[in-house]
Amino acid sequence: MAIAAPPRAFDLKRTISPNRLLGLWRMMSGFRLAYLGATLSLAVAAVSRTATYLLLRYFIDDVLSRGGFAGTLPLVALGFVGLALFGGVFTFLSGQLAARTAEGIVLRLRNYLFDHIQRLSFTYHDHIQTGELIQRSTSDVDALRRFFADQAIGLGRIALLFVINLAALLSLNWKLALLSVVVVPLVVLISIFFFVRVSKAYEAYQEQEATLSTTLQENLTGVRVVKAFARQAYERDRFEQENWEKFLRGRRLLLMHSLYWPVTDILCGLQMLAGFLTGALMAINGTISVGTYMAYAGMVIWIIWPMRNLGRLIVQTSTGLVSYGRVAEIIQEEREPLTEGQHSPKGDLRGEIIFRDLCFEYDTNSPVLKGISFGCQPGQVVALLGFTGSGKTSLVNLLPRFYEYTSGSVTLDGVELSEYPRYFLRQQIGIVEQEPFLFSRTIRENITYGVGRDVTETEIVAAAQSAAIHDVVAAFPNGYDTLVGEKGVTLSGGQKQRLVIARTLLKDPRILVSDDATSSVDAETEGVIREALERLMQGRTTFIIAHRIQSVMVADLILVLDKGQIVQQGTHEKLLAQPGIYRQIYELQTRVDFELEKEVSGVELRV
């Protein structure tokens, strides 16, 4: 397996800036030329459209009004087609370049975020909410995509149309031109005001849509309760309430729209009419030519009407900025250095581990482990006993360097743990959790997940057999190609655990960490899992988080933990010989058999 990360062309950390616009600009690095191209193409397309109206003016004033033009006509006609073709090419080019920019930026961002997330520390993942992180990597990234693909270029488009057409109008007749844009500032203001308001109403509408979905979902997942209490009528009322509320919010939203568009229609329409009237009067007076009037009438449309959408773009752009901030928060987190550390021996580890006065805390001043000292030889089994929160899991999490201990030392084969690169350690340590996480892939892919080498079918089957999961898998119609999870089979906790045992067998680590809790498993399965685990433990230094006496008895060293400290340690025999928690627990074991015998014989005595 390649340990070194491939060189990354562009580190998105460099794009982080408290100024969000500057941050977005930096994010465009490498695509700025294409984006410039898109903007320029847009300008060229706008110019060619404006030129069409100038050609129209030429046609009316210089061709039509003079007779004998049969020869020029086809040329003028061709001119129109030519301009459309020319403009069209650039319109296309602009759209294509904008898409390339936006999709390119987002591709880079997606890949970076994906990698970044899996390299952030455990501490980060402990604190962040899963849903939130996924939301930011998907919805917010998509908002950024829309920012680059539509909004930024859309704002540019409106600005360019305005500037180019206004310039052309000014060249035709400056008085007329200025008269034609009187209403524009007003339209822009109304537009911004409206879209700010409407986006709030829209959020309220969307919120209600979400509430409605939740109501529906709860009804569907709770269908047994609904039916068991015959509460259909009540449920109908509840849904009706939310559904009606959504209708009302929708209606409010539409009322706003149905006022905005006609009002701006009137504003823009009257502005146009005023322009037409003035222009026509000028034409009658001979101040401008008929052709000029016609060109004017064509161009003025492109100045006034697009302004109505300006507010929408501005509001959307602000959501793009918010999304940038949310994504940047993830990017600026520090990654876990996986390859840092100078000691990575070529051969196998022996697995001798010694803890010396070790302390650990997740947050400062609330120690989780205090003064932990013990040692174990290669191949030995260490059992950790203690109630929830006593520090068992925290202790084993230090071994693969998921977290860093605060003081004291841990040596592995005589070398301090922090000298080993994390990557190296994690390859040497296998973890079997109580309720393992499986991926929505096939069973085969889950078994070979992270094994880090090509595995033959025979090896997979052998591992599965050894983990006592082969028969379960073979019973599925698709065997090892059966999908796990939502779209496939649901495996029980015990089956998942055995699948992970198979995977760990293939991974063949020198050190093993396992959690023997089998509370969710029936008694027969429990025995099967225990046997599989025992096979896996052979020849490996093993740490068992123990929940029951049976697993403890086979251990070479038992650690009884309480509030982050080791209160008793030794072998089963040694601990049994001394007074303490361990002996008290063990003595209960014998009482079980005794009481059971009493109960059964009591029943029989009463015959």
């Binding site: 039509l64 007779g67 003028v76 006609a77 069209g88 319109t91 294509q96 898409a99 390339r100 994906f114 990698d115 997330i117 899996q118 390299r119 996924i134 998907t138 998509d142 693909a149 409605l212 979905s213 979902q217 569907l220 709770g222 269908v223 047994r224 039916k227 209490f229 509460r231 259909q232 849904f239 009706e240 559904n243 959504k246 209708f247 929708g250 539409l254 009002v263 009419l273 009237l277 026509a280 008929v290 016609m294 203690g386 998921f402 994690r426 996480f437 929505s440 992270g450 999908l483 509370s519 969710s520 029951r548 928690i581 627990i585 209960l588 009482r591 079980v592 109960e599 059964v600 029989e604």
Partner: protein
């Protein structure tokens, strides 16, 4: 897997006339609204075309003729029509928009209400996600089609037709030439839109895979790190995100090509107009304003055609949505009241299963020839392996399903002669994983009897043993339980659902005990709560705890859909059969668990 039948995005490709009619019929109760928006949009559309005529007249009758009076007259008409236009715009946005919301509201209401009537078997075979998207997105798509879709079609058609009429009036020969271009435009536009929709659908599909990948990477991040899968994961994701890049780029590329292509075709028509119109103008067959009007019509013909093409392309999708929605509405509940079903006011009395057969899937019998008579007030414990048929027995009793053969009698009467409400409203049920609805604790308990006062709710909670823990919650009975009750532990959820059942004052009590371990204190409370219900009801308990089992009047060991042992605790224990095996195993486990909690209490007491 059966889930694949519910794959999204699949739809019949052939055009189904019946479905279209049925979709349109959704608006029948609101036909006045439909007429309203159709009329207003038709007026808007005709006015859009007429404004071009007015512009032509400004040029011909005003400017070219040098007639100021005529100019003012035309401008006045123009200005008045702007207001008429705006009023109609207001009309159609409001009418169509609100109607759309209304149709969606109606559809959702119908679907939800129907869902309340559907039987368990429907929910067994239909994933929640499938139903969710029928009620949310499909209903929306249908509503869009019958409002904005219909509106766009009306506008587009009217706009094109009125434009053609005006062109014919201005110059019929030139109009005929222009007409030739319309079919070409339509065909090109439709083909484009269809392709674009297909591309965007592909983008959406890949996008949901990307979300899935993020989801797994975040939720499974600990496994990823422990197994050093970072490089491999990034490589896999890189392929996916590159696929997304290509698809999104292709879709954007096609979209960018659409407008220039259509514009180029209209430019050819403009060229024709200039050429032919110019020649005509020589002989007075064409005015300057006429040429201007033609150019306008052809240039803006693009928009109605684009709308028509879009609606046409989306229609297929909407029809597919409609088919799925109708399939939900048309599905018939398998368990429902028979004609003449009655509510006797009480269902107290003996319960009798008389040679009942049952299966979920044909050919896989779950119960065969099952007979059982239970006396009023008796407590039955059902024990035995998973999948043996215990849940089926209680599900049949609650009439979530009905026997395939044989009969169930309540108080000597075939229970299918009773109404569903008569049975289900008198059953109190506590499920293994109790489902709570998001909302305060109080409302969740009140679900058992909706008209219960706050005092009665608290009284029920006291009787069920839930009161003590509820008052320790931050807001007591007003504390939110979270979605599905997830803010509470399993034991707490069971206590709440016991209180709910107590409040319902049922005549039959059904309980499925939790297998997962509940802490000792809560367990004792649950036992106490059950006691009360057991005393007052005929009870069926799927039991896992020895104390519960021992308390039952009769124990049924269910295996493979048959009663393999039946009798009291002492009798069965003496027989040393299945029950003996089961009992001793469970005895051991429970005592082991007990000293596990002993570890906990010891740990706390020792310094």
């Amino acid at each position: 897997m059966s889930n694949f039948e519910f794959e999204e995005e699949e739809f019949t490709t052939q055009f189904n006339g019946r479905t279209v009619l049925r979709v349109l019929s959704q608006t029948r109760p609101h036909w006045k609204w439909v007429v309203g928006f159709m009329v207003t949009i038709a007026i808007v559309s005709a006015l859009d075309s007429y404004f071009t005529v007015l512009s032509k007249r400004i040029i011909d009758e005003g400017i070219v003729a040098g007639n100021r009076a005529a100019l003012v007259r035309i401008a006045t008409t123009y200005g008045a029509l702007i207001f008429v236009q705006a009023a109609n715009v207001l009309g159609f946005i409001f009418l169509a928009g609100v109607l759309g919301e209304r149709v969606q509201y109606d559809l959702r209401k119908r679907m939800f209400n129907h869902l309340q009537d559907l039987s368990f078997s429907y929910f067994d075979r239909t994933p929640v996600g499938w139903i969710m998207s029928r009620v949310t997105s499909d209903s929306e798509r249908i509503a869009q089609l019958v409002t904005w879709g219909l509106l766009d079609v009306t506008w587009g058609t009217f706009n094109i037709l009125t434009a053609i009429v005006f062109m014919l009036i201005i110059n019929w020969k030139l109009a005929l030439i222009v007409l030739a271009i319309i079919p070409i435009l339509i065909v090109v536009a439709v083909q484009f839109k269809k392709k674009i929709i297909v591309e965007y659908r592909l983008v959406r599909r890949i996008n949901s895979r990307i979300t899935g990948a993020y989801n797994e990477n975040v939720t499974g991040v600990r496994v990823v790190k422990a197994l050093c899968r970072e490089e491999e994961n990034l490589r896999e994701f890189g392929q996916l995100s590159s696929e997304m890049y290509r698809a999104a780029y292709r879709a954007a590329w096609l979209s960018a090509l659409f407008l220039p292509t259509v514009q180029l075709i209209s430019a050819v028509a403009v060229g024709g107009i200039v050429w032919y119109g110019g020649l005509q103008a020589q002989f007075g067959g064409m005015t300057v304003g006429g040429i201007q009007a033609f150019i306008s019509y052809v240039t803006f013909m693009l928009w109605p055609i684009q709308d028509l093409a879009r609606v046409y392309a989306e229609m297929q999708h909407a029809i597919a949505s409609a088919e799925r929605v109708f399939s939900l509405i048309d599905s018939v509940p398998e368990v429902s009241d028979y004609p003449g079903a009655l509510d006797p006011g009480s269902i107290q009395g003996s319960i009798e299963f008389d040679r009942v057969d049952f299966y979920y899937e044909p050919g896989k019998p779950v119960l065969e020839d099952f007979s059982l008579t239970v006396n009023q007030g008796e407590t039955i414990a059902l024990v035995g392996p998973t999948g043996g048929g215990k849940s089926t027995i209680v599900n049949l009793l609650a009439r979530f399903y009905e026997p395939k053969r044989g009969m169930i009698r309540i108080a000597g009467q075939d229970y299918t002669t009773l109404s569903l409400h008569a049975i289900q409203s008198r059953i109190g049920m506590v499920l293994q994983t109790p489902h709570l609805f998001s909302g305060p604790v109080r409302e969740n308990i009140r679900y058992g009897r909706l008209d219960a006062t706050d005092e009665e709710v608290e009284q029920a909670a006291r009787l069920a043993g839930a009161h003590d823990f509820v008052v320790t919650l931050e807001k007591g009975y007003d504390d939110e339980v979270g979605e599905g009750g997830n803010l509470l532990s399993v034991g707490q959820k069971q206590l709440i659902s016991l209180a709910r059942a107590v409040l319902a004052q049922p005549e039959i009590f059904i309980m499925d005990e939790a297998t997962s371990s509940v802490d000792t204190l809560t367990e004792a409370l649950i036992q106490k709560g059950m006691e009360l219900l057991i005393k007052n009801c005929t009870s069926f308990i799927i039991a896992h705890r020895l104390s519960t089992i021992k308390r039952a009047d009769r124990i049924l060991v269910i295996e493979n859909g048959k009663i393999c042992e039946m009798g009291s605790h002492t009798k069965l224990l003496r027989a040393r059969g299945h029950y003996y095996q089961l009992y001793t195993r469970q005895f051991r486990r429970e005592l082991e668990l007990e000293y596990d909690s002993f570890v906990t209490s010891l740990g706390h007491s020792s310094p």
